[in-house]
Symmetry: C2
Subunit: 491 residues, 2 copies
């Protein structure tokens, strides 16, 4: 007879594409976010934490017109029929919050927010389905001063967390200029949307495809190495020249770049307006002393998102790192944003101009680690070992004494029988010091202090010559324990 | 002919039971959590942030045996058939994390975590479906020293965030003692589970039903005001006496309470073990100086959750507040926890003892507000008004100067035409000071400083007598602006 089946044990695993963060992964990020919040606060931005869950209709873009509207989002249906979803960014929720609370909020409304967002995408190496974003936006003003302010604030923020001047650059462009270039190249009008899409994607691929590849996509099309053919935008040679000229419009100084862009969009109202906006931002930043060592005008910045309507900006880290293949590459983008004047309108029917930036928190943290701005490990606690199970209260009193002097300390709470295990534990904890007090020490009113950092150094050295005058374990009277521990920790 | 229907505008609303947090709601909580993390860190607890999303099977309790397993959780099905869900507490994810990473974690593993959890419950007034929890747990040790340590740490934590000694009490009990009492009252054995449930619920209702009501539920049953009858546990008079005696077992001192409990569970092994555990915790806390002004043994603490297996503890704030009905009541519970030795076993098959506490973050924050430990408002930024749209760069330079001295400051970015609107804006922002510099001031090299706090005071006073020597608006040379602002802000 078959045995009755037991319920199988659940697998102890994060769902695919999710991860856990331990120790300094959590605290380093919290420290960095706290520094960022400090800058944002000083700029007059107020904190906001919107709910992680939104209605699918409020999030937009992902409408419940299919059986399961989980294209890109994690969504589920409520008993009352409503579809809810986890936010996939901080901008859509901001538009909802502003529309909902606009009568109570200051106008313009400057806000910052930091927290996790969720994407229902195929997970890949280093690509997670939950990650942190940290955004700052100004809602309710069309003034270019708002865009300039956010670029200046982004610059201050990067330096506040530890990225040095010269190790980053903030690039600014304007979508209206790009639209003007399209207009000049004959791609205005609703019937040219597909072609404009091809041009946008081609510009975004300049790094990868090179000038020739992009030009092929602008005209007839391009066959890639595998033989697959990608249809082009069908531009004439002259029109393609206009677009190519746009990508190549950067000059030595901001004013020269602006002058070149003005030539390129000649005859296009929207393009000319975009150039004027760029010029205004550049003048404001210049007056504040944010020169090209920090912020530059760069026509090659496009930004993927469809909703941008004016200035777009991007922060890039320019120092070199090794990629997974061992090649030396620039670290790259850590933040980006721009002006989006139509998002609140979805709710209220009225146009509400807005602009804002989003920092990729995990990437910025990785950058700080790559440049040794923050350590990846921290010193563990002082571990008080347990020599005599019945004297737990005495050991607890020792850690309490250390803690009240601000020193991180803990009693070993595992099975105390095997003393070797206690030292292995202290090692795993990264402990600088272990305290030992057996019955003999207790009678004599002393404790043993084991300097684990020094001990590790001695173990690494072939001869003990160098350390012979510094024993890594010594005895001190119990009432001098705290003073000695402080001395070893340089506190 | 009917007009073509437009897509209706989405409603700008948080989903039912969710809310947004603004300004100090966010920053006060962050400050409080940072203080709590400081205490936990000093006790040797490591930070952990597990993913917000778990597989339904890892969360447990909510198995996908119905079409939609959303009893209490927000859950959805992945394309590959797996059910995922938002975590509903921090304990189930800890068990999963420990089982998954146990070979890399120190043993015992002390960890703390803070973040939102989600409950798919019917929302009610003041009851939200997303809220914060802040937990500390020690996994991998059966030692009562771990439980004592968490109670001491909870006490330190409450004082660190601003709850004064005397305004709180931590109550400790032990589930084994309760099980022992049940055994003595004849309710041991698998066939008595329903009766044990009735007794547990009856004890939990002592506050509301009083001694007579509880006693009725212990014996035959009870008819409430509406005439509905609740079946009782069917205990004899003598057995009901045992249970009633348990609830009434608290004595003037810990040792006396322990002695009384020992009498009550006489003859029950599990009960006697529970009393010994309570005694051990009490002795450890006593040796560390955590007396009955902070931590007491209280047999009436039961804790709702089914998974507790030993010590249970609860922190209660004892000061009075007004409830919604205007009645004066004690603030009540803000944290609770206990020992749960079976949760990791679900994954690994091996019993892993664990104990931990969870702080109700929103309630503790409300308590700090109720006792004025933290303000509910903060001072807004200095607002630099815009008198001349073309001189935006000058105004930006003013705020930059203020900020570099650490002063929160912003330029008005709305339409500057109506100066009254700018002052209304400054008022809405809670600004202490507005700066005004028109063309005339600019020519003369001065700025106007408007002391808005003083101005508000003057407006409140019937006569200006009191303030006549202190004008609320005055002129200073531009290069003295910073010094004067600092003076007004007492910086």
């Amino acid at each position: 007879m078959a045995k009755p089946k037991k319920t199988p044990r659940p697998k102890a695993q994060t769902p695919k594409g999710f991860r856990d963060y331990f120790g300094t992964d959590v605290t380093d990020r919290a420290d960095m976010l706290s520094k960022i919040a400090g800058v944002y606060h000083r700029y007059g931005f107020d904190a906001l934490e919107s709910s992680a869950v939104e209605t699918v209709e409020a999030l937009g873009k992902f409408l419940p017109d299919v059986d399961r509207p989980n294209e890109g989002v994690f969504a589920w249906q409520e008993e009352d029929g409503d579809w809810l979803a986890l936010r996939y960014d901080m901008t859509a929720p901001l538009a909802r919050v502003y529309a909902q609370h606009r009568n109570d909020l200051p106008n313009p409304y400057r806000r910052y927010t930091m927290g996790p967002v969720w994407r229902n995408e195929k997970p890949g190496p280093g690509r997670f389905r939950q990650f942190y974003q940290c955004d700052a936006d100004t809602v309710g003003t069309a003034s270019m001063a708002a865009d300039a302010e956010i670029c200046a604030m982004l610059s201050d923020t990067l330096e506040a967390v530890g990225i040095q001047r010269g190790d980053y650059v903030i690039r600014i462009n304007n979508r209206k200029v790009l639209n003007g270039v399209m207009e000049v190249a004959g791609l205005a009008g609703d019937d040219k949307e597909a072609e404009r899409g091809i041009v946008l994607r081609a510009i975004d691929k300049l790094d990868r495809l090179g000038q020739d590849g992009v030009r092929a996509l602008l005209s007839e099309g391009r066959k890639d190495e595998s033989g697959d053919f990608t249809k082009g935008a069908g531009l004439s040679e002259a029109d393609a020249d206009v677009v190519m000229g746009f990508m190549d419009a950067q000059r030595a100084t901001g004013p020269e770049t602006v002058a070149r862009l003005r030539e390129l969009v000649d005859g296009s109202d929207i393009g000319t307006k975009g150039v004027a906006e760029l010029e205004e931002i550049a003048a404001l930043l210049d007056a504040l002393g944010y020169g090209p060592d920090r912020i530059i005008i760069d026509p090659s910045v496009v930004r993927g998102l469809g909703y941008y309507t004016g200035p777009v900006y991007e922060a890039e880290l320019t120092f070199d790192v090794q990629n997974e293949k061992g090649q030396t590459v620039q670290f790259g983008s850590v933040a980006g944003g721009g002006r989006y004047d139509d998002l609140v309108k979805r709710f209220t029917g009225q146009e509400v101009p807005a602009t804002g930036v989003s920092i990729g928190v995990d990437r910025l943290l990785a950058a700080l680690r790559a440049t040794n701005r923050i350590g990846t490990t921290e010193q563990g606690p002082v571990v008080v070992t347990v020599m005599d199970r019945d004297r737990m209260a005495d050991y607890q009193a020792m850690v309490a004494e250390l803690r009240s002097a601000g020193i991180r300390a803990e009693v070993y709470l595992g099975n105390p029988k095997n003393f070797g295990n206690q030292l292995k534990y202290a090692d795993k904890r990264g402990s600088p010091i272990a305290i030992i007090e057996g019955g003999d020490e207790n009678e004599r009113g002393v404790v043993q202090i084991k300097d684990l950092i020094l001990g590790a150094k001695i173990a690494e050295t072939a001869t003990h010559e160098e350390w012979k005058d510094r024993p890594s374990q010594f005895e001190v009277p119990r009432d001098q324990m705290l003073a000695k521990v402080k001395e070893i920790l340089n506190q």
